[in-house]
């Protein structure tokens, strides 16, 4: 058998003909980056290629001085006969699937993705290929997401109730992606939206790139404390677990994550509310996405890869799990 176009190497997913990696987890010369989350976009590579909307995010997270080139979705780059193009993954702003074509062989690497249109990231588009390297963070049939508007109305209700009881609503969510998704879709008539520094810094980077993120107020020592009991306060998990939280006396703590599907995960975090809200595909989404690629070979990464591969093999695919260092969705 001839060598695979994309090989699973120690440092990451490797495109041999052009000596380039996709989302490598050790420093390499040339890296194509699917999106700005820290387990996919790491420090220390010689040159970065990513979607236009990810450029500023990468610079903010990895340093102004990185060498980075942005491309729009669907534009084909021909590098020594290897055709590279990025396609919307619907995961977060700037997230992309990477399509690689060489001598008639087509591979797609998804990075992280979700199939629901969240109104902020460009919606996921299936890309036909023969080899599909797919994440499967939530690759078990117990994971089923409700539509975004349903979850958002749950958050709105919880927030409204907290305002009525005169207590702050602190919502834990990823600083990049989920935070903005919440900010842009909750009902701003309920009260102000306050943000932890990590979230607000990201907001500013995105706003500077021309992305419309609704109004938020950064929490500083000078912030008017009378706002707290009316506000929805968005913080990353690390903020929830730090003394920063003590500012908000009597706060109700919510966590937005796909893991909140499970009662044990909710109870372990000792949160008051768990909202099942993820930027990854659920069981149905994964299965539909895979089908739509018409690929024969499937390589699941992140999460329950063995179980998911076994399932895919029973469905007639040729599937084998890939060991990576991606982390899926982490609740701290």
């Amino acid at each position: 058998m001839q060598r695979k176009l994309i090989q699973f190497k120690e440092r990451g997913l490797y495109i041999a003909p052009i000596d380039t990696y996709i989302d490598p987890w050790r420093p390499v010369g040339k890296a194509i980056i699917t999106h700005g989350h820290s387990d996919h976009a790491r420090r220390g590579h010689g040159a970065y290629l990513c979607h236009d909307d990810s450029v500023n995010i990468l610079k903010y997270r990895l340093g102004e001085d990185i060498k980075v080139q942005g491309v729009p979705y669907d534009q084909v780059l021909d590098i020594d006969g290897v055709k590279i193009s990025l396609h919307p993954a619907g995961h977060i702003i700037g997230s992309a699937q990477v399509r690689v074509e060489y001598r008639g062989e087509i591979w797609v690497v998804t990075g992280d993705y979700k199939t629901e249109d969240d109104g902020l990231a460009v919606a996921f588009e299936p890309v036909k290929c023969q080899h599909f390297i797919t994440e499967c963070t939530f690759g078990l049939p117990v994971f089923k997401w409700k539509p975004q508007e349903v979850v958002i109305s749950e958050i709105n209700e919880w927030w409204t109730e907290n305002v009525r009881l005169g207590r702050p609503s602190v919502l834990s969510s990823y600083a990049l992606g989920k935070a903005q998704r919440v900010i842009n879709s909750v009902n701003h008539d309920i009260g102000p939206i306050l943000t932890h520094g990590a979230v607000e810094n990201t907001n500013e980077v995105l706003r500077a790139s021309g992305i419309d993120i609704k109004e938020t107020i950064r929490v500083t020592p000078d912030t008017d404390k009378s706002l707290f009991n009316k506000a929805l306060i968005i913080a990353p998990g690390s903020g929830i677990n730090s003394p920063w939280l003590n500012k908000f006396k009597n706060a109700s703590i919510g966590i937005a994550s796909g893991w909140m599907m499970m009662r044990g995960a909710r109870r372990r975090r000792a949160a008051d509310r768990g909202f099942v809200f993820s930027d990854h595909a659920d069981w149905l989404g994964l299965n539909e996405a895979i089908k739509a690629t018409e690929a024969e070979y499937i390589y699941p990464t992140h999460g329950y890869t063995n179980v998911f591969s076994k399932w895919l093999n029973e469905q007639g695919y040729i599937a084998s799990p890939v060991e990576t260092e991606y982390e899926g969705e982490v609740v701290e």
């Binding site: 078990l140 049939p141 117990v142 089923k144 677990n241 939280l245 003590n246 706060a251 703590i253 599907m261 499970m262 009662r263 044990g264 995960a265 909710r266 109870r267 372990r268 975090r269 000792a270 949160a271 008051d272 509310r273 329950y304 179980v307 076994k310 399932w311 029973e314």
Partner: protein
Amino acid sequence: MKLFANLFQQLDRTTKTTVKVKSLAKYFDTASDTDKVWTIALFTHRRPKRNVKTSLLREWAAEYAGIPLWLFEESYHIVGDLAEAISLIIDDSQQAMDKSLTTYIEELIDLKDKEEHVKKEYVLKAWNSMNQTERFLFNKLLTGGFRIGVSSKLIVKALSKSTGQEENVISHRLMGNWDPSTISFEDLILSESGLDEISKPYPFYLAYALEAEPEDLGATDEWQAEYKWDGIRGQLILRDGELFVWSRGEELVTDKYPEYEKLKDYLPDNIVIDGEILAYIDGKPLSFNMLQKRIGRKKVGKKLLQDCPVILMAYDILEYQGKDLRSKSTQERRDILNGICKNLPQEAPIRISPTIEFADWDVLKELRSKSRALDCEGIMLKRKSSEYKIGRKKGDWWKWKVDPMNVDAVMIYAQRGHGRRANLFTDFTFAVRNEEGGLVPFAKAYSGLTDKEFKEITSWVKKNTRERFGPVCSVHPELVFELAFEGIARSTRHKSGIALRFPRILRWRKDKNPNEINTLEDLENLLTK
């Protein structure tokens, strides 16, 4: 079921006892009488018999969801709870219909002798008519094991709030054998009964921990000192020839300690004695661990009665000849108690907690430091002139414990041991609560338990694993342990902000629930000592 599911959600979303009581009371205000009775039954471990095998439930769930059985099993393994796994794997119904909790339970009881296909048809139809929370609860009814962090104490509080009845009256009524499928709410909770009055305990007077130096208490001859026994606080009531034993949590525990029945022959009628329920053999107390074996049991077997008999270590008398003595002085009450217990034979399961003679505070300090050797927790100090007050009041009663360096904490992670114990979970991570009621991990500890206890914990961990990280499992925060340690210091490296020196497990506190563990603040207070 909707109403019950709603209650469950509210209870599940909070760790705050006051909120739980409020939700329960509101439920008791609105639910139908039969639903109320069943709810009380479920929360006090009187669930209906299981009439469908769980292996069948797994098969049906997989089939219904259109997935192979192995995939269901994998999912179940990750979720960790069968009722929950099934509730998640099945899609929410589009045509929800609502039947009451009682209806569902009655229908489930009816399934008993039905053929398998009838059972299957019923269960599938039910699954299809519910949302996820309802389906979870329905499955819990099917599979049994209804543990959702509501103690019978909370139920009692809520019922008291809802009906206006006194807590101890309700507590008494929930004891014993009643059948939820036949008894009415009226008979169970509301109607008057003569037994209520004669079984009624007095509220306990509780001591504060002595934080100052004992010298600050003044003259030694104003104080009565005795050892602080490491048992369970109890009140023994003998009225109209009937005997009742209450433990501190407003819990009637007469059935758990049948030894006391004999006291009817030795004690005069119409008295109430305050003391310590203590495991005791050959003139010596046994460790609290021994007594714990009896706490969780409804029925005590012969062997346990033989290995771990109890006595009442009496230290106060609250009623004599039917008269309330609480306004008399501690000294006077003690004299009366001495008079009653003076000439009792050895086989009477009661002892007087001896008072300690001490001329100055230094003598008492010395005795206190050695009290561990007597299996005591320290010294109790009671002002001789004091009356018997209600609840925890400062000033007259002090507990002066040895070795303050211990803490009640809840287990949140478990890890497998090495070598001989490789198949057991032996290393645990523990958490205390922070200000917001959240759990903060603060210590890892292993030694201190017996192999038998490790085995018991191991099988519990397997059933209650939430997530796996290599050899480490995170578990439901439910098991409470008392940890001891040699020192405590601030640490920036630890999430809790503190580090313990030589933490070890002292004992498994089966008598405590995770709401009763210590807080981070408690630990921080130890820092200053």
